[in-house]
């Protein structure tokens, strides 16, 4: 079970409160986690990453275990703690705009 924390505007859009928990079969990577989020909550498609290129939206960041994973390969395995559900995967709306 993967634990995911979404920023509040995306929680509102998805109609969820608090942490999202998803079961994932296969490798736990940033791609597979976001795939699973979009599968469960189709209204979030395009809001976290581009529909076509799958590139992260520029003002979003992905954190886990105290690390910024935003620039890591989306196919790299996520830390074991995320895969085991002891640490959440964080989707952060970065502070921007001045």
């Amino acid at each position: 079970m993967i634990r995911i924390e979404l920023p509040s505007p995306l929680r509102l859009l998805a109609g969820v409160s608090g942490e999202v928990q998803l079961d994932l079969a296969g490798p736990v990577t940033q791609r597979s986690v976001v795939d699973a989020i979009e599968l469960r909550y189709p209204m979030l498609r395009g809001a976290i990453r581009d529909h076509v290129t799958k590139q992260r939206r520029p003002f979003l960041r992905f954190y886990a275990c105290g690390e910024d994973l935003s620039h890591e390969s989306i196919d790299a395995p996520l830390p074991d703690a995320v895969a085991k559900g002891t640490e959440p995967y964080l989707v952060i709306g970065s502070i921007a705009g001045g």
């Binding site: 920023p7 505007p9 498609r45 003002f59 709306g93 921007a96 705009g97």
Partner: protein, 371 residues
């Protein structure tokens, strides 16, 4: 009993303002989608409770919403706008080719006959259509592909397709406008397009009378005269009486002919409204006085409408999508400002009153006259 509903898009959410036919007291509902830029909301003419909304965010990109109950509840619909085929390039600010990239939906124009069909004008400029209530969107790529697309360049606010007008007597004929490419028309429902910019004179482009490249800010039509269009260009107010084949200037005695919105009275096809703005560098009214100008002669002769509008220290702007009229017996006129006011006139513009004073900057105002 007849009532009026205003769909107001702002920089930080949408608001729905309602009143009875007297239009004296207003109920303010919102914000809907708090924190999001609401570029445009518009209801279906055949089912006014079916409303579509463009919801944008610098963080989360483009989202699309649909309501089937007049804006009480909303459902997210498809937000995937993929250009048809290989997108190619348009001209960038420095003259170099730049790939077409979807940025946002500027304008939504529901079909005049089918609540499930909606046209969307997007940035980078293209026209999309849904025929399934927003479940999927498909490009009408004949517009970008008609030949001049590679020469289009963005205006300062981006390269947006911001105006869509459907001819009520012939739904195959649609007029659109793009900043900064100009006006275009299709006569076959969007398969093929032609530029309709003859008569436009834009001194800020290398060839002032070029086929494309004009910064058209807004076009308006009275439904009883679909061949007559009124245009607010970057500078100049113009009209055509032959479906866009030829335009001529009608700025007349306007104190400045720069501005963004233009609209037509609901019952008087020769009564036109504009909001003169000082200049392209100074996006606020002349001398700090907010004035709507009205022509009852189809242009050239304009009168200032000031009663109830601030006449000193007013430095707001009125954006292109932020003016509309109702169809009550005495036509109501409405506009929103970047200062967050929405002004209403229940007497064709003779007098004005602010419905609200302190919304976020207003991006769009659409009026629904409800039976």
């Amino acid at each position: 009993m007849t009532s009026v509903r205003l769909l107001v898009g702002t920089k930080k959410g949408a608001f729905i303002l309602t009143s009875d036919g007297k239009r004296a007291r207003w109920k303010v509902d919102g914000p809907h989608f708090a924190g999001y830029e609401m570029y445009h909301l518009k209801g279906s003419p055949v089912d006014p409770n079916r409303i579509y909304a463009s919801q944008c965010s610098g963080w989360f990109g483009q989202l699309m919403q649909r309501s089937d109950d007049g804006g009480k509840t909303w459902t997210a619909v498809d937000n995937k706008f993929t250009y048809d085929g290989v997108p190619g390039t348009h001209q960038w600010y420095d003259g170099t080719p730049h790939p077409w990239e979807f940025k946002r939906v500027w304008h939504l124009e529901p079909s005049l006959t089918d609540p499930d069909t909606v046209y969307a004008g997007i940035e980078d400029a293209a026209m999309f259509r849904t025929t399934d209530g927003g479940t999927s969107w498909h490009e009408l790529s004949g517009l970008r592909g008609h030949g001049s697309g590679s020469k289009w360049a963005p205006g300062a606010g981006g390269m947006g397709l911001h105006t869509i007008l459907i001819d009520p007597t012939n739904h195959q004929r649609i007029f659109i406008a793009i900043s900064a490419a100009g006006a275009f028309r299709t006569d076959d429902g969007g398969t093929t397009w032609k530029p309709i910019n003859k008569g436009l004179n834009s001194l800020y482009i290398p060839d002032p009378t070029a086929e494309v490249g004009h910064c058209v800010h807004r076009i308006a039509m009275h439904p009883s005269r679909p061949n007559t269009l009124f245009m607010q260009k970057h500078w100049d107010v113009l009209r055509t009486d032959d479906g866009g084949e030829n335009w001529h200037e009608i700025s007349g005695n306007l104190p400045t002919d720069f501005g963004f919105p233009i609209d037509v009275h609901a019952h008087e096809p020769e009564t036109v409204y504009v909001v003169p703005i000082k200049s392209d560098a100074e996006h606020f009214p002349l001398d700090g006085k907010l004035q709507v100008y009205r022509s009852r002669t189809g242009g050239n002769e304009w009168e200032a409408l000031t009663k109830g509008l601030p006449q000193k220290d007013c430095y707001v702007n009125v954006l292109r999508e932020a003016m509309d009229v109702d169809t009550m017996d005495e036509c109501g006129v409405y506009f929103g400002t970047t200062g967050g006011q929405v002004y209403a006139s229940a007497d064709s513009g003779d007098s004005w009153k602010a419905i609200v004073h302190d919304l976020p900057a207003v991006l769009s105002v659409e009026v629904q006259t409800l039976a």
